[in-house]
């Protein structure tokens, strides 16, 4: 009953989205306002059906309706309610349905927010969104159907993948990733519409940029959550392994970041339009490629839990979109491009170009490294690997260069800088560079790459801080109240600027923390009997014994350790091994003690009677990465909030004080 209700909703949404696609493109072609109105209605209807189908699935999960095939596949009466609820994205069929649901929410929101604006582009945009919607409806309806009917429903099911149950981060990482991935559909639709129209007006930049920034924020946080999860669960003390699936999440992030920067040049200078559109198209294509990589089972990876028949279908969609995008770009890119004007390499524009070059190079390198083994295997029939040592040696120089221009870029003015201007902008931050590098030396950093990273980081930090607070300082000097100047400059009218520099500040911390944590880590395997101690790098751990814990869905063995430094106990840690009914091998869960300086990370290798083998990993600054990425996300959100007040008060005289405008705006 529930299964057939779900199936009907999905079939309807397939019908609605295909019709809506045709309607949207036809309305765009004919420039018909009636057609556009109908396309909008179809967009809302599609969203309604998708969200409805997802709610039906959630209902089936929560009520343990094992007559629905997906529930039979992942449901269990033994697991806690939150696990049951997040089971929606624990396996392939459900996660594709969840994808459809998020796509529905995005399409409805984008259609609603543009209801009175950008009429010229909207029909094509909606057509493109619904085209993507039609593809995913088809996936849910046929090859990855979660709504099959089970003839003889069992009384209980196996429960979701134990990795999902093992850590709460697995419950939040996928939604963020999907919000990032699926969100790229919206700017893709806008960019495609601009290409179809053969024009990209100044006013249309706002929705394009905003629709790119929101999924960018989600994707940024999702990538971090994925790394954090790996760190907290996998037990090897790292957060990034250059695994194909990790790379899949990074690729669209890189192109989207490049696009956000080139969009700024587009906005200020009217150039790089075709290029920005190309980057937006690429970001969407890379999300589809990522889905293929994650979901088709062609890659060996810790993350691709599912082997499935949807690979070929996604590949066909990928090929269609790729051919369509390339054709459109080839036909229309010239009509977008106005006469580009660049005032020389030592300028803000010059740095933006270098920024884009580096991000695209980064993307290209990661893409090559990820798909190369597949190509070699397909062509030459022999297996090879491209792993961490390759990526480290290729990507570290690019990352360091990015950190360098992160410092130099914002210091330079738009337009050609005179020698005097360049000197005044570029020399003072050397102080910051020297201070941070000296701090590093004082804390024992000796690796030359790390020192360089610290120096670039210090340089970038000083520039970022200066640019971030400049408007506030100037207003305070003029005699404005301190609180008023801060609130108005950073959170009201200068919000976008402030948000961007917050993102930069976060990025500086992330890159420095990655550099320090990867080069300064200590790792040692020790074996201890009960009561014995070992000392690693000044940290003493004492094994005090094991403990068994039993929960309905799993049993765990904990090993207790007291951690002390200089004879004083600082904490106790209890890494554990969890055994689930479904899994043959137990899953280890490390235990971590985090301080500002660094982490103490214990992970069990094995337990034999009275003795335990434990991996002790000491990593400085690693915790900074998670929080700095959240800072980046917060900056993105602050920059995203539309600034309606500022738009209302455009006509104004030079004499009017800023305070008066605020009153007028309210």
């Amino acid at each position: 009953m529930t299964a057939s209700l779900g199936r009907s909703l999905i079939l309807l949404s397939l019908l609605v989205s295909t019709t809506g696609t045709v309607l949207g493109y036809a309305a765009g072609w004919k420039r018909s306002t009636d057609g556009l109105r109908w396309a909008r209605r179809f967009a809302f209807l599609f969203s309604f059906l998708m969200i409805g189908a997802t709610l039906v699935m959630e209902y089936a999960l929560i009520t343990h309706d094992f007559s629905v095939s997906y529930v039979e596949h992942v449901g269990s009466r033994q697991v806690p309610l939150w696990v049951t609820m997040v089971s929606l994205w624990s396996s392939l069929e459900g996660s594709i349905l969840f994808w459809g649901c998020i796509l529905g929410v995005y399409i409805a929101a984008a259609t609603w927010l543009t209801r009175n604006e950008h009429v010229e582009y909207m029909a094509y945009s909606i057509g493109t969104w619904l085209f993507s919607g039609a593809f995913f409806s088809y996936l849910i309806a046929a090859p990855a159907s979660p709504f099959g009917t089970v003839a003889n429903p069992p009384l209980d099911g196996p429960g979701p993948n134990p990795l999902l149950q093992n850590h709460v981060l697995m419950a939040v990482h996928p939604p963020f990733l999907y919000l990032g991935y699926v969100g790229m559909t919206i700017p893709f639709g806008f960019a495609t519409a601009a290409l179809m129209r053969g024009r990209l007006g100044q006013a249309f930049l706002r929705p394009l940029r905003a629709s790119l920034l929101l999924p960018w924020v989600f994707l940024t946080i999702a990538i971090m959550l994925g790394g954090w999860w790996a760190y907290e669960v996998l037990g090897w003390g790292g957060y990034w392994a250059w695994d194909p699936v990790e790379n899949a999440s990074l690729l669209p992030w890189l192109t989207a970041t490049a696009a956000l920067h080139s969009a700024l040049v587009m906005e200020r200078r009217g150039s790089l339009k075709g290029w920005t559109v190309t980057l937006v198209q690429s970001s969407f294509l890379l999300t589809i490629l990522g889905t293929f990589m994650t979901r088709s089972g062609v890659f060996n990876s810790v993350h691709s839990f599912t082997q499935s028949p949807i690979g070929p279908t996604i590949l066909v969609f990928l090929a269609l979109v790729l051919i369509g995008s390339v054709t459109l770009l080839a036909l229309r890119i010239d009509s977008l491009e106005s006469d580009s004007r660049f005032d020389g390499p030592v300028s803000r524009e010059g740095v933006f170009l270098v920024n884009n070059l580096l991000f695209v190079l980064f993307t290209f390198t990661v893409l090559i490294g990820t798909v190369f083994p597949l190509v070699v295997e397909a062509v030459k029939g022999r297996q090879m690997s491209v792993g961490r040592p390759y990526f480290d040696s290729m990507v570290v120089p690019i990352g360091t260069a990015l950190l360098f221009i992160l410092g130099v870029g914002p210091a330079l003015p738009w337009g050609a800088a005179t020698r005097e201007q360049a000197k005044r902008a570029l020399l003072p931050p050397l102080i910051g560079a020297a201070i941070v590098a000296a701090l590093g030396l004082a804390f024992g950093v000796r690796n030359p790459w790390t020192i360089v990273t610290l120096a670039f980081g210090g340089y970038a930090a000083q520039v970022t801080m200066k640019e971030m607070w400049l408007p506030v300082i100037q207003r305070i000097r003029r005699g404005d109240a301190v609180a008023g100047a801060i609130v108005d400059s950073q959170l009201r009218r200068g919000r976008r600027r402030f948000g961007s520099y917050l993102v930069h500040a976060g990025a500086v911390i992330v890159i420095v923390a990655i550099g320090v944590s990867s080069t300064m880590r200590t790792q040692q395997e020790v074996r201890l009997r009960r009561g014995e101690s070992a000392t690693v790098n000044g940290i003493t751990l004492t094994f005090t014994g094991t403990e068994e814990k039993s929960e309905p869905h799993r049993t765990s063995t904990l090993a207790h350790f007291d951690i002390s430094k200089n004879g004083k106990q600082i904490t106790s840690l209890a890494p554990r091994m969890n055994s689930y009914q479904m899994m043959r091998d137990p899953i280890g869960t490390p235990d971590v003690y985090t301080t500002v300086k660094g982490d103490i990370y214990l992970s069990i290798l094995n337990i034999e009677g009275d003795s335990v083998g434990v991996n002790v990993i000491l990593t400085p600054m690693v915790g900074w990465i998670w929080w700095a990425v959240l800072l980046m996300g917060a900056g993105g959100i602050i920059a995203l909030i539309p600034n309606r007040a500022a738009r209302v008060i455009v006509p104004q005289t030079q004499e009017s004080p800023i305070g008066a405008n605020e009153v007028a705006a309210q």
């Binding site: 060996n300 810790v302 006469d339 491209v386 207003r475």
Partner: protein, 173 residues
């Protein structure tokens, strides 16, 4: 019965011990050690470094250094033993390549088709640099057309809001 179990356990334990140090045919495959024997903390560090260059053959894309699987643990012990005997990283990688093929090398060798994976990004860099220079060159040839949006007289500044603040505070920078 008890004795039989004891013997079995003893055999198992000795087999484990034997396995730890067994590095079959190392000398035959890659010759005599070319480096100095290593011990202590340096041995740990070098073991992790070299094990990080090797792919665990039975895992899902993890390195020997990171994987908890039995096979990876054994390989790691072998790496450790070889380093302790004074084999260089290069020799050790060649040793494992003999046994498992190029598949175990996480850093592809610079030979055959594999060179592409190293060269293509560098080609891309060169193409990108040329593209940027040609864009810069455009300015000399073309007429400067001011199609930038009139951002409240913010020409030469970096954003409208800052320009406004500067205008009001009478600062030019």
């Amino acid at each position: 019965m008890k004795i039989a179990r004891f013997i079995a356990a003893f055999l198992f334990a000795t087999s484990l011990l034997a396995q730890e140090v067994k590095v079959p045919d190392a000398e035959q495959f890659v010759g005599r050690p070319e480096g100095q024997p290593v011990s202590g903390a340096m041995l740990d560090q070098k073991t992790n470094e070299t094990a990080g260059m090797l792919r665990c053959p039975v895992c899902q894309g993890m390195s020997v250094a990171d994987s908890p699987s039995e096979m990876a643990v054994n390989m790691k012990h072998q790496v450790r033993e070889l380093i302790a005997r004074g084999y260089t990283q290069d020799q050790i990688l060649r040793y494992f390549e003999r046994s498992y093929g190029q598949f175990v090398l996480l850093k592809p060798k610079f030979q055959g088709v594999n060179t592409l994976v190293w060269i293509l990004p560098i080609l891309a860099l060169i193409v990108g640099i040329i593209a940027i220079f040609s864009m810069m060159g455009k300015r000399a040839g073309g007429q400067p057309v001011d199609d930038a949006p009139p951002a409240e007289g913010a020409e030469g500044s970096d954003d409208p809001y800052l320009a406004e603040v500067r205008k009001l505070t009478g600062k030019q920078s």
